[in-house]
């Protein structure tokens, strides 16, 4: 087994394990850390799948943005005194049954290859993916790119307006 193959299966294992741990944790802060582990393992898998730009974006956006936001959200919504609110479940057994059903259905499709899933990866000849992504974004995908900019501006203003402190008018 080569080093690359070992790392591939190692990061698959850490991603799966941290997701399963996330399902059963009782402390919400620990859950955020498990989510961080899962997202970082996915970033490593992206590198092994030759998507370097997406791996860097994953680390910047998710590990640096979303998880920090979530941790701030946790800190702002727990009651003062440092007592962490334990996570409770409703309908654990039906939920697990639905999840297992979806999982085995997807496994069935993957194994039957109903969608003719290609199973072997092609080796890329051109490996300057970052340059190619930049060219693609500014030529074929320029409309979604600009729309994403407008969306980001709207989200920035909307989130600041919703979460901002409002003066109570009497």
């Amino acid at each position: 087994m080569t080093l690359v193959a070992f790392l591939f299966y190692f990061f698959i294992g850490t991603a799966a394990l941290s997701a399963i741990v996330l399902l059963f944790l009782k402390n919400i802060f620990h859950a955020a850390l498990a989510l961080l582990t899962c997202l970082l393992s996915l970033a490593a898998l992206f590198i092994l799948l030759q998507a370097e730009f997406l791996a860097v974006s994953q680390i910047l956006l998710y590990a640096g943005g979303v998880v920090i936001l979530i941790i701030f959200g946790i800190m702002l919504t727990t009651k003062a005194g440092g007592q962490a609110v334990p996570i409770t479940n409703t309908g654990l057994l039906p939920g697990l049954a639905v999840g297992a059903g979806v999982f085995f259905l997807l496994l069935f499709f993957v194994h039957k290859s109903l969608f003719a899933l290609p199973s072997s990866a092609q080796e890329t000849i051109v490996n300057n993916n970052i340059e190619r992504i930049g060219i693609e974004i500014l030529t074929d995908y320029v409309l979604p790119f600009e729309l994403a900019g407008v969306l980001l501006l709207a989200v920035l203003m909307g989130a600041a307006t919703i979460a901002g402190f409002k003066h109570v008018k009497n």
Partner: protein, 100 residues
């Protein structure tokens, strides 16, 4: 390195995200479950892109999915924060009145 294991991991992550969204009684954890499901979809897109080396459509699509996911988290957390100020709880089941 077969892509089959990537598909299985993606299915597993998606189902776990679904269970978290269905079962947990905490709004922030529900957001985490949605993130997990979006990441599973992203992983699939990138794995499919690996089989077509001539094009980068899958990676660009995954990039846009990532941008939308971050926007959704920011607005979702802002709403959760505001709800928490009103009701002093972040458990969705306990928010059962419409007039604040």
């Amino acid at each position: 390195m077969s892509l089959q294991s990537i598909y299985i991991l993606s299915a597993l992550l998606f189902s776990i995200g679904l269970v978290i969204v269905l079962v947990k009684r905490n709004a922030i954890l529900v957001l985490m479950g949605i993130e997990l499901m979006l990441n599973a979809a992203n992983l699939n897109l990138i794995a499919f892109n690996k089989t077509v080396p001539a094009s980068l459509d899958g990676q660009v699509f995954a990039l846009f999915v990532m941008v939308i996911a971050v926007c959704e988290t920011a607005v979702g957390l802002a709403i959760i924060l505001q709800v928490y100020r009103h009701y002093h709880t972040s458990v969705p089941d306990e928010i059962n009145e419409l007039k604040g």
